[in-house]
Amino acid sequence: MDEFSGRAAIVGLGYSKLERRSPRPLANFAREAAAAAIADAGLTVDDIDGLGTIPNIAAYGNTGDLEGIDIVTVPNMAQMLGRERGIRWHVQTPGLCPDTIMTAAAAVASGACTYALVWRAVNVPKGRYSDFSRARAYGDDQFRAPYGFTMPAAWQSVALRKYMHDHGSTREDMAAFVVQNRENTQLNPKAYWHGTPLTAQDYLDAPMLADPFCLYDCDIPVDGCVAVVLADAERARSLRNPPAYITGHAQTTWPTRGGFTDSEHMWEGGAAMGEKLWASAGLGPDDIDAAMLYDGFSIFLYVWLEALGFVGRGEAASYIASGATALDGELPLNTSGCSLGEGRLHGMAQIAEAVLQVTGRAGARQVEGVAHTIATVGAGTLASGGLIFSREPRA
């Protein structure tokens, strides 16, 4: 275990309402989530002296940088909170939310600030999702956009095809996961797909976007925001909620090399990140009581389950189909429905549910006796990150 393990915690969590194509500006969602998180921690706005976010839109191909509509940056949040003079520390990290959360955790643990608010505000871009409408293709795009390889769904669908070919899994196997996930979603009133069940046949009959990926292999884009409040371990103990101590952390710079052409990079990068994650916490897969693994696309579940060592290579599909990852199974997985069921919150759904489960606050879907949870975000490659949360500060 490293020296950082257990020194910071998430002490408050807040959601905005999750909608689609809402007429409300994104800033309203962000303010709603921030206020909820601060209240949940038992703090007031004036306690917040650190801010962190991801200041870019969460969709490849689309453009949009209108403040308060497409993005909600630190200056905007500081102003909405009336805290321009009170913020001692802030950060904006492009990419995915683990980078921001870890940076904020380091800030509160070091004393650079006392209570840090981290949020991720996402919107459904105008027009179609992943609308690559540029006439010229630069960088990695020059080797994929001219071929129409411009949708993240297509990038990941080739990974599922390779997995099915190499390991003999089927779309019926993936249906088992998607259906299980949607069942969990029915226990999560915040979730976008709450109240909308899904059968295996619905999955198998759904429109194909990029064969073998159908609509339900993709997460559900939403307008919304999730915010968390972080504090150092000592302050965390004195607040109203049980703290979710951050006992493990990992980031990765693993390259995609060509932008999701060779899907093996996801497993290799995920495994390299996993080694760091387990080492930082002094824990291993057997210690985890509930796992929130990134499911921006369905195939990522196979990546993370295998790369982190929960199962061996090629075993994820049959492991899920066996029921082991159900709410009452040996490894409850994505118990809130996460990205596929709750909404495309770019990793915050994973973080939030890992926090709720480890602090015993997951309501109807609470897993019994949770000591450690894991949240991973990303595809195993560049910008991916993972966190381990524990009920006690030292693992």
């Binding site: 409408s133 129409g148 949708m151 390779k162």
Partner: protein
């Protein structure tokens, strides 16, 4: 629900300091892949420094153009400009015979999408976009 605008052209690659030799060769009907003089490995997409051994001795070398389908997808609903009339179309992750996991993206053409399969032998062909750019594409290889 395809929304790609057929009246506009598809995205055109913009060669840069690292990738220009690839596109210059393609424009001559040659598939040339970057090769590291130090570790003797092929690299794609091209890189400034070898990702395998960190050497800087990077050249481009003509390859056979023979390949196989590493994996692929059949796109049925894309929104990128210019692609709607092609749907469904196949995007192949193409593994060149010269090196394991040496892959590039191309469309698999000259075959019905549902007849494409992982492992299918392919050979390179070129699709001209304009005076300066010809796209390497792949088509089933009869094995002559």
């Amino acid at each position: 629900m395809s929304a790609g605008d057929a009246s506009v052209s598809k995205p055109v690659p913009v060669p840069d300091e690292i990738t220009a030799p690839f596109w210059e060769a393609a424009n001559r009907g040659v598939l040339a892949i970057q090769h590291c003089g130090a570790c003797e490995r092929y690299i794609h997409p091209p890189a400034a420094i070898c990702p395998h051994c960190q050497a800087t001795d990077m050249r481009f070398r003509e390859v056979s153009g023979r390949a196989r389908v590493y994996t692929h997808t059949i796109v049925r609903d894309n929104v990128t400009q210019g692609f709607a009339p092609d749907e469904p179309y196949v995007i192949g992750i193409i593994e060149l015979v010269e090196q394991e996991r040496l892959v590039l993206v191309a469309n698999v053409v000259g075959v019905k999408p549902e007849d494409v399969s992982v492992g299918m032998p392919l050979r390179v062909t070129f699709e001209r976009l304009n005076d300066e750019i010809a796209l390497p594409q792949f088509t089933p290889d009869g094995g002559d």
